[in-house]
Amino acid sequence: MFVPGSAKNFRVLLVEENPVDARLLDAMVEASRSGFKVEWSVRTLAQGMLIIDTSEVDVILLDLTLPDSSGIETFKSARAHSRRLPIIVLSGSDDEELALYAMHEGAQDYLVKARIDTQLLLRAMRYAVERHRVEEALAHERNLLRNLLDNLPDYIYAKDVEGRYVIDNRAHMEFLQIKKPEDVVGKTVFDFFPEELAALFHADDQAIIASGNALVNREEPSITQAGERRWISTTKVPLKNRQNRPTGLVCIGRDITEQRLAQEQLKEANAELSRSQEELLKTLAELKEAHEELRSVQLQLIEAEKMKSIGRLAAGVAHEVKNPLAIITMGVEYLLNQDLAQQENATSVLNDILAAVKRADNVVRGLLDFSAPKNLEVRTQDLNAVINQSLSLVRGELTADLKVVRELDPNLPPLKLDNIKIGQVFVNVFTNAIHAMGKAGVLTVRTYAKQLTGVGQNVGDSRSESFRVGDTVVVAEVCDTGSGIPSDKLTKLYDPFFTTKPTGKGTGLGLTVTKTIVDLHAGTIDIANRPEGGAKVTIMFKA
């Protein structure tokens, strides 16, 4: 490095055809004791180039008119060969313009030979060396910065106040699909992006320059030259000069498309997960509900089965116990009418026996009462729900060829019912229908509400005193495709112990109990044969 007054010698290459001029210049340098020394003095460009190639030259004094080259070509050749060494052009007084041209092309200085003095020469050489050193340092720094910028994966560029690119790094040039910096410098976003997007970018830039406020890490959509959509995280910082006037902005952008995609996928996966969880919870709740329902149905089924068993047991016990009781009674009656009755205490003993029989009879009757309908527990009910419950209770009796068709009106008015007992009614009716159909058939259950108009089927009937014209009634119809009911049996259907079923299949109490329950609800039940075959049971309740 050149430091004024330092001990370093600066080696000068002198390329001068004229030996007189050469000697004069050499002498000037020598005499100055300035640290400069003409190390090499040659007459041709070729010789000069050889020195440049093989030696450590600090500064070149170059005459433009040489035996092997002349004019500006001399400078250009030397310049191209000298690896940026400082060159001071020596010119004749007649070609000063040529010298100026050489300056423009990179010469450090020019000296008109006729006017050279030692002072001038030294100053020119010092400035040349110093300028060269500073330029080298600057170039080094510039290269360092440029390398830095170009090796960063982020987009880095600067713009002037008009939005023209001033600096652009390699990553951003690749994004813009530009090869050389000069193809982007001076251009604006409008040269690279669709107008609408460019206008947005430009507006942002102008706002930042005008406000002086930086924009930090804003995620914004952009588009490549190939038309591919990308997401860029952008930071833009306004630039100001020493007078605090805006001079443009610098921007760092990072392509976060993949990151964002991953984020979105994560978000989606999270949403999917929470959806799945929700569904899982819902399913769990439904399962719980179904389980509760199943449990309640099971309990009712057990209850119904228990009652059925008790009814069957009661009937069996009644039959097996009452017959012997009948014999005992009759036997005692017989004895009472015999002479034996005259014997002391015999009558009272026989009457005691009769009383005991009566007591036993009462016990058996109590057992029968237990399986017969009792007091109602009325609550507001949806008849359809009761029907569905009963259908589920007789599901076990259904076969593959026994179909159930439900035509239940969802808008039935609520009814005041004892759901257990009405449930028993429908279980009885469905069971009868299923038994009547055997292995195959269709059981149709229909509900609807209607207003009684005029004298209809059930109005005025002695069985339906509770209905009046204008009343709204809820009707349940149960139709089967079975054998129907022999016409002579139709009037006996509700009588206890009358059954058309084979022994063991019915107690003969079903419809008796059914009728009793419906009567207790002030409703009506009507059983008829359908013209198309099978039976139809119509049950009505006042709404």
């Binding site: 039959h319 009452k322 017959n323 009948a326 009759m330 009418n337 009879d361 029968l368 206890p496």
Partner: protein
Amino acid sequence: MEKTRIMVVDDESGFTRLLKLTLEKTGNYSVMEENDPMRALDAARAFRPHLILLDIVMPQMDGGGVASQMQADPFLRRVPIVFLTAIVSHQEATPGALIGGFKFLAKPVSLAAVVKCIRENVPGLAA
């Protein structure tokens, strides 16, 4: 005076024998027992009863079946039938109750109830 002919159809022979003995002891009735419901129709045709006491729960044929046979017979159709049944709850055993349109007596039955029932149901024997 002609005795009132009562036919009792019940598979319980002990019951029918005692009913026969008891009723006949009064001197007013001639009682025929039939323990096989399948033979009831023929027996009734031969005996020509004034009233039939008919058990409901019997093997082979129940009281209902026997009753419909009787009612289908031109000679027996007008003969009153009273059911005897062992399976009746308190609620059902109300006065005037019917089974399949027929009157009935609930077992165990007293002699007085049987006599009352005969008087009420055999024409010309009004109490």
